[in-house]
Amino acid sequence: MDVNLKREAILDNYQNPANRGLPKDSAYKEVNSRNESCVDNITVAAKVVDGKLDDIKFDGEACAICTSATSVMTKELKGKSLEEAELIVENFNRMIDELPYDEDLLGELNIYNEVYKQPSRKKCALLPMESIKKIIDDEE
């Protein structure tokens, strides 16, 4: 994918993030994650119905990479079963950590495939995955 297209997609998800705003609904499980080495601070909320991520929302204060990655993650994981979601999270984490991964599983999340070039920003991209992983693990 062309670098300009990737940048455009990241900026679009940063400036107009999808699924932003936390629902006041006890059916959602919320997990807050903070980046220990910087100031990213996001909360992900998910509703699980019949073993599926029926809805995902988020809010918080974070940099362009972290905010946009959270937005893309909510879009990619919505409607997936917990097992499918877990596999996507695992492959995304492998991509960021420069390990072999299955790009066919990642959809729009593939726009972060060059984050590894800026090591200080890896954690920004990984932060939303930390929250959703906790929600999935709790459900299982």
Binding site: R7, I10, L11, V39, D40, E61, C63
Partner: protein, 398 residues
């Protein structure tokens, strides 16, 4: 000014994060190298020439520090790992035995973590109350607001001379006088001021003081704890070991050394202390008055130039110190800092180790510029030009 004394500055780096740490002049580096290459030995141990030379150098720096902060005796000067250790020693070694449940301690919400977390921890144990001085609209500390929070049982005021988060200069002379009149101990965090302004512990009526060498051109890992002699005598060591005891036996009896050695257990950071001495020599040769005047001229220029940047919010335009906080509307502080890195400009983004300040200042994260005497107007011009091209800020995401 004096840029030629700093090798790193010839690389083209624009270093504007001096509140985090300062660069080191060649004289400081070469003093440290000399110790490691010409007379490495332990202190207070040997009967041979190089060890005696270490003693002379090490205790010579103690005397230099005494003179630098105008303490009465060099017994009042303890070498630590840095401000954090100094404050932990004051709070857990002295205050733990001094404060009672009914007492009160006065801080501000803008203090550095090292001057808040030890107090919170001790307060949980003893039960004393922590009060916070209300900040003025520009987040500064006024003497009126200090007075409003002094109660009958207020026993300690512990604040920074210059805050690391906002960069405001506190009215410490007046606070010292209030403390003296009301029998309150005055603990001063001089970490951000020591390399920029004259700090005189007698003039300011300071009871305890802490600072780190690395924010005043010296090496990392070394700092100073100052305490008035009668108070320091009551400070119970929190570290025990070699170098601080006279004798111990299997009956469990032991006798500790007198000050200052009693509070310096184990082999100290000798190279660091020697480097601190060279930093003091350097600062004195340049002159703190000259440094302050230069920095304030530069700060005036920075405020003028940054005010021309569109969509900028500057939080502190005062000319008391070289620290300035800003945000560019609609851009996260860290994205701005990462963008400026492309121009070799080093600034700090975040909440600057003062997390309680988020309660006072509505924007939780900011960009911080902190100047020193080796910064120039040309560097500020490069910064301002970079900030003019705001549509490029997010280009660094890929």
């Amino acid at each position: 000014m004096n840029r030629e004394d700093f090798d790193i500055l010839s690389t083209g780096i624009i270093y504007l994060d001096n509140a985090a740490t300062t660069q080191k002049p060649r004289s400081v580096v070469s003093e440290i190298v000399d110790y490691y290459t010409k007379y490495t030995a332990n202190a207070h141990r040997g009967d041979y020439d190089i060890s005696l030379k270490v003693d002379e150098k090490y205790d010579g720096v103690r005397e230099k520090v005494r003179d630098f902060i105008n303490a009465e005796t060099s017994k009042e000067i303890i070498f630590t790992k840095g401000s954090t250790e100094s404050f932990n020693m004051i709070i857990f070694g002295f205050m733990a035995n001094y404060l009672k449940k009914e007492d009160r301690v006065l801080l501000t919400k803008g203090e550095h973590a090292s001057n808040i977390l030890p107090w919170l921890t001790l307060s949980k144990k003893i039960g004393f109350t922590i009060d916070y001085i209300d900040l003025e609209d520009d987040y500064s500390v006024s003497i009126e607001k200090v007075k409003e929070k002094i109660y009958e049982n207020t026993k300690v005021i512990s604040i920074a001379h210059i805050s690391n988060s906002i960069g405001d200069l506190r009215p410490v002379k007046e606070i010292g006088e209030i403390c003296k009149r009301n029998n309150i101990l005055f603990v001063l965090d001089a970490t951000q001021s020591i390399g920029h302004l004259k700090v005189d512990v007698l003039d300011l009526n300071v009871d305890f003081l802490g600072f780190s060498a690395h924010k005043m051109l010296g090496p990392t890992g070394v700092g100073v704890l100052y305490g008035k002699l009668n108070l320091l005598e009551e400070l119970v060591p929190i570290e025990y070991g070699g170098g601080m005891n006279i004798s111990f036996n299997s009956d469990g009896e032991y006798e500790l050394k007198s000050l200052p050695n009693r509070l310096e257990a184990g082999t100290r950071n000798i190279a660091g202390v020697i480097g601190l001495g060279a930093a003091i020599d350097y600062l004195e040769s340049v002159g703190l008055d000259r440094i302050h005047e230069y920095e304030m001229n530069l700060k005036r220029y920075l405020v003028e130039r940054l005010s021309t940047v569109p969509n900028i919010k500057i939080y502190n335009k005062s000319l008391d110190t070289g620290v300035l906080l800003f945000n560019i509307n609609n851009y996260f502080s860290q994205d701005v800092a990462i963008y400026l890195n492309k121009f070799n400009i080093c600034i700090r983004a975040g909440n600057h180790c003062a997390k309680m300040l988020q309660e006072a200042i509505c924007d939780t994260n900011t960009c911080r510029i902190s100047l020193y005497f080796y910064n120039t107007k040309e560097e500020i011009d490069i910064l301002v030009n970079a900030l003019m091209n705001q549509d490029k800020i997010l280009d660094t995401v890929v």
